[in-house]
Subunit: 181 residues, 2 copies
DNA sequence: GTTCCATGGGTACGCTCGTACACATGGCTC
DNA sequence: GAGCCATGTGTACGAGCGTACCCATGGAAC
């Protein structure tokens, strides 16, 4: 019974450590050794639990995407009327959902992988499908898609833009996109 | 006069090779040796022309961002009236500007770097500023920002979504965002 | 034509990497 | 309680890496 023997959460801790490390140094900067050190497991555990870095990354980003879309779904499901749904979207864009720099960085890392490799695109597709389904509880399909794209774009600009956003512009954007004809 | 001696375009060729390689294998997959091989220069030329991988990447992505925003600016400047400007935006989103998978991949790689490191954020900021300036020749500042974000989001979704886009949805989005009140 | 030096070219060193593999441990089955 | 085997642990190896460094080359300055 020496400390770490029989450690059922080990796989999970490795995945968490991997996400933390990717957030810190990027996919470009990770290695089995660094993840092992951060998760406080021996190097051998890496290849025992995961066939390779790719398998580990896919699981890690799968967990990440699920976490984010869970939050999205919950916020949208709390809205009871059109005005509430609009407010929820504004809140998601301006602060609530991607509250941390970490989440924004991880999102971009995932998109970058998805842009190149179909295996990761499955993750982003599932994420997008869930977002759209949540939006379609309140908006027609075309509006839901456009809102989803708008959220995407405004979130990215909020992350990368150093200039202050024009006040009220997010609310205005949601108003225009969801404006009944 | 042995072949390669005095090769004034060498620096440029290295930068081009770097962009090609990043498009192929990602920032995570590059190395001095691989870039040198693709540019057909000896390994020593890498450290001679660039202080390190970071300097090379910054120059490469600087060139890439400038190329894309040049195209954006030109397309927007060709429009002479509101309808033309709207059509230009639709064209930029649906096919023209990010015509190749290569450009989309490189864009995401740049965003990922920018999300983490301020040096790269300067590049994306300059790019965004130019886009907005071009849009402000035809639209008011708030509309220009929202259009810019919409372009961003729809472009990403076009890149990552495997489901076919709803027909006419891009035109509809631009119409709603630019609709005069 | 001599000198100088920016540029090109090759190589060796020390490091980190992923992976393989041999051995240890201890819960579970019987 | 004996044996099995899933899991944990440590180490060694070969490959690829960035970098430093030395020599070669040949246009420019004078």
């Amino acid at each position: 019974m020496t400390g770490r023997r029989y450690d059922p959460d080990r796989r999970d801790r490795i995945i968490d450590a991997c996400l933390d490390l990717v957030a810190d140094v990027g996919v470009a900067g990770i290695s089995h050794r660094k993840v092992a050190a951060r998760a406080d497991v021996p190097l051998g555990s890496m290849t025992y639990h995961f066939a390779g870095m790719d398998e580990l990354l896919r699981e890690a980003f799968g967990r990440f995407a699920r976490t984010i879309s869970d939050g999205f779904e919950q916020r949208m499901s709390e809205a009871t009327d059109l005005e509430g749904a609009r407010a929820a979207v504004v809140a998601i864009i301006t602060q609530d959902l991607f509250g941390t720099q970490r989440d924004l960085v991880l999102t971009h890392e995932l998109y970058t992988l998805a842009a190149r490799e179909p295996a990761y695109r499955e993750l982003t597709n599932a994420w997008m499908r869930r977002s759209r389904d949540a939006l379609e509880r309140h908006f027609d399909p075309v509006t839901a898609r456009l809102l989803d794209a708008l959220i995407e774009g405004l979130t990215i600009h909020r992350a990368l833009d150093t200039e202050a956003p024009l006040p009220g512009s997010v609310t205005e954007a949601v108003r225009r996109i969801t404006m009944p004809r």
